[in-house]
Symmetry: C2
Subunit: 210 residues, 2 copies
DNA sequence: GTCTATAATGTGATAGAC
DNA sequence: GTCTATCACATTATAGAC
């Protein structure tokens, strides 16, 4: 068996495990189902990853960075503050359209407070080459000082922005039940519109018109 | 054994089951753990509820109504539109402070798309004596027509409001990791402040000053 | 590396005494 | 109604052939 094929098997396992863990969480996932999805034998999972725990940690480690970093990199550019907010939101919603199950997965698993999972998440942020929250704080203070933005707490505004991006994906099932469009296509449109509506909503609220 | 004591045992079971299911979800919960928490024998769980499934459905049925109805009842009062928004937010945040795990629980379980759970959620809404989303739509249109509020889609605004209330509870673990106050007390303060900040943020965004 | 077969354990559920 | 003891099965994990 060549090296190339070994990588291929390991990759197949990780992709299958990602899909199953994302859909069912650690507790709901079954090694057999992951093996089936990867079209291999169950014993091979243990050959490569020794245990369900270790396989899960590998998956979590690869998914953790997706929840924030790429999105907030735009804060390091030289766009205007309002353009940055708009770009963060558009990028974030686009990211979540590709990984709609990611937020619920990360938050469910983190809520179990397992030591190892929290450590992985912490390492993920320590390994970033910039601190999004700190950067955001400074940029915001700058705009407040210049009189472009109302005096608002950076943590409150930061949470507002990500709430408005993430929640529609986490809350989709319940929103559908309480009377949102039932077809997938209509819900997609609703999400698509948010790329325009959310920046408008936020900037409306904080911008000082001169 | 008197009727009163029977009710007491059933109640003990439901309370214990609520706590464990809320914390660990259906898949992560163990009947043994629920029995321990209720200080009874595991066999007694089955005597009262026959199966884990049925016990879970009983718990879910009792929790489902808490996620929305009481909060939006204020829409039926004769307060002004902006006061109603403020009251919805304050009431909702207060509700979530008492049940911080409720949103993640409901959304995790709904995301599994089990027939029976979705049915329960649907029935919960059908049993309400008013339709919050419809009511909200009409009230908003009214204000738009009167020129008090900018022209904004009611679904977008509705989701904005509940996003800003719910997300800080769902996302608490990750927010702590990315650099929010680490002590519980400070996070509580952050949440407490949102009862003032979120209404301001929303009304700022949609109100037309005359 | 990959498979089949099987061990080892965990867990929901039941039988039956009291 | 409540308990102890136990079953039946699902699931993780390993042994060993190829």
């Amino acid at each position: 068996m060549t090296l190339k094929e070994k990588i291929k098997t390991e990759e197949k396992i990780i992709l299958a495990a990602e899909e199953i863990f994302l859909k069912k969480g650690f507790d709901g996932a079954r090694m057999q189902e992951i093996a089936n999805k990867a079209s291999i034998n169950k014993a091979l999972l243990h050959y490569y990853y020794r245990s369900k725990d270790k396989l899960f940690l590998a998956v979590f480690r690869s998914l953790a960075p997706k929840i924030f970093p790429p999105v907030f990199r735009v804060l390091t550019t030289d766009l205007s503050f309002f353009e940055k907010i708009e770009q963060v939101i558009i990028n974030y919603i686009n990211l979540l359209k590709v990984n709609p199950r990611l937020p619920l997965f990360i938050m469910s698993e983190l809520s179990k407070k397992s030591e190892s999972i929290i450590e992985i998440m912490q390492e993920t942020f320590e390994n970033m080459d910039f601190n999004p929250l700190q950067l955001f704080k400074e940029e915001l203070q700058n705009e407040i000082d210049k009189g472009n933005v109302i005096n608002i707490d950076y943590q409150q505004l930061f949470v507002n922005i990500i709430s408005l991006c993430i929640f529609p994906f986490v809350g989709k099932p319940i929103l559908k039940i309480i009377g949102f469009e039932n077809s997938e296509k209509e819900y997609d449109e609703f999400i698509e519109n948010r790329k325009r509506e959310v920046p408008k909503f936020i900037i409306n609220s904080i911008k000082i018109s001169k």
